[in-house]
Amino acid sequence: MIHVWMFLLLLVGATGFAWGLPSDGDDREPTSILTLPADPISYQPGPGSDLASRYCLMCHSAEYVYTQPPHSREHWMEIVNKMKTTFGCPISNEDMALLVDYLVTQNSLQPSPSAQHVQRDDRKETPGQPLTQSGDPQKGKTLYARHCVTCHGSGGKGDGPIGQALIPPAANLTLLGKQSDQTILDTLRNGRTGTAMPAWKNDLNALELNHLLSFLRTLTP
């Protein structure tokens, strides 16, 4: 069921109708819609960027890291710990240190030596590379186990350990049967506004995304 009206970008809607004192039986369009822009930037590719995408992008855009003043490692550790213990981010203990390492490479007064090798990497989006290709479901399965399973679960039902802790919960991927390849690839590339689904286009290239797509097709009954 597609509610086309939900997608209308109503920039002036709220002022247009709201103060005509809505009353019973009033059949004007009563709904005010807020369509927010997608995240403008991703985490820069580098060791641990997939962790930042998986954990940090659940609740906030990557600008939260890049607009901070350069923090020491200790500060980043405190911040990540606060996200885990105070704000309930389900970061596993083994990922904590790797995530802090990554944040130090991104924005720190004393970047680790490896930071010098972390550069803006746009290779993932090669111009002219077809977005839809034939993927290998076996390779997709490997990628799925690395990037997706913690939220979407091994069977794709959205029942991964993190997925159940999200509002809304992670999507049930076994229900994607009616979605076009293009729609699924778009979601994989750009993420989904209003949910914890991050954009993967800077972590996975077009071929890898198509591997994932072909694996996702095996989940549909």
């Binding site: 597609i2 004192l21 809505p22 009033d26 009563p30 709904t31 997608a38 609740c59 003043p69 999200l166």
Partner: protein
Amino acid sequence: MNEKNPGINRRHLLKGSLALGLASLLTPRGLWATDSPAVTLPFERGRRPLVAFPQKRPLMVMTTRPPQLETPFHIFNEDIFTPNDAFFVRWHLANIPQEIDVNTFRLTIRGRVNQSLSLSLHDLHTQFEQVEIAAVCQCGGNSRGFFQPRVPGGQWGNGAMGNANWKGIRLRDLLHRAGIESDAVQVRFDGLDQPVAQGTADFRKSLTLDDALQEEVLVAHSMNGEALPLLNGFPLRLVAPGWYATYWVKMLNDIEVLNQADQNFWTTQAYRLPANACHCVKPGEALTDTVPIGKMPVRSFITNMEDGQAIPGGKPCSIKGIAFDQGYGIDRVLLSVDGGQEWQSARLGKDFGDFSFRPWEAQFIPKPGHAYALQSLAINRIGESQRFSARWNPSGYLRNVIEPVNIHAS
């Protein structure tokens, strides 16, 4: 969440393709490219792209999700009331309802009351006296980016504030309609926004009953003569004049009267100040006792001069600005052009009420070839002034030090 906002899960399932149209306009390289429109604040990592969000003109984007948008500072020189489409935006939680049905929306008043109320927007417009007040809404972390040493948190310049004419219903009229139980001590406010992770506390704030019953506290439905923009809390927000904006709960849909002190996270753990008279500590010093953030100390700003600006020498130069406090009202504003050695009184402009920005203006004749260190100092009607030296606390709250502006005459 479903009892508060039925249907949001369903909508989220439909949103996959929503953002794509905008995404093409907001590619990483496009938005953060150095040649795209931006304001660069005078601190490290201070570049803020200018992007128009729904119902907003291009504002300085600190973060896109949840939205945190800063008002470019020149706006404060153009109008004493900040235009709705330029008013700053700050959300804590990314699950912001993306649609509001004005016919089914209800505001509930419940808890320690004689009779719970569930009021439609129509009820609020027709059954209660409509009142209007001019008041400054300022984020507790406004100017955090200027803290030295720097502190974590949202790195605002001075534009996480705004002044508006707010119109709505007195909170106390609603509470009296419901009937306050004799054991009531606090009132807690909740909006429709929701966390993304289950482990994150829903955003709620509380006032003591005495504070909640002050006549200036409103449940507002409009600002500057128009409905609230969605990003500023449509259809209703709490307006708590004099209090920092964290108390001005947006998309307000639930008011709960409590018979004990609120224990929720956003009151007991977030938005806390060192529990001393200065609300400050030495940098790096650990906090022992803390208290919740409260009302705003007095501030003033020079609005018509930017740091580094050149002005013509040898003829009168007008310096304009704004001042405000927590509602005692501005008694006087002093201006120094020599870095704080000598001061002259500025002329105060029109008085829009004790909670509003107060315009001021002063003149001096700059000598050609001379540099001037402008400082403005506001004093409120109970004799409180701005600070001459900045206070420091680890969360970057309550900045009200004199803000110097250096100019030179040609």
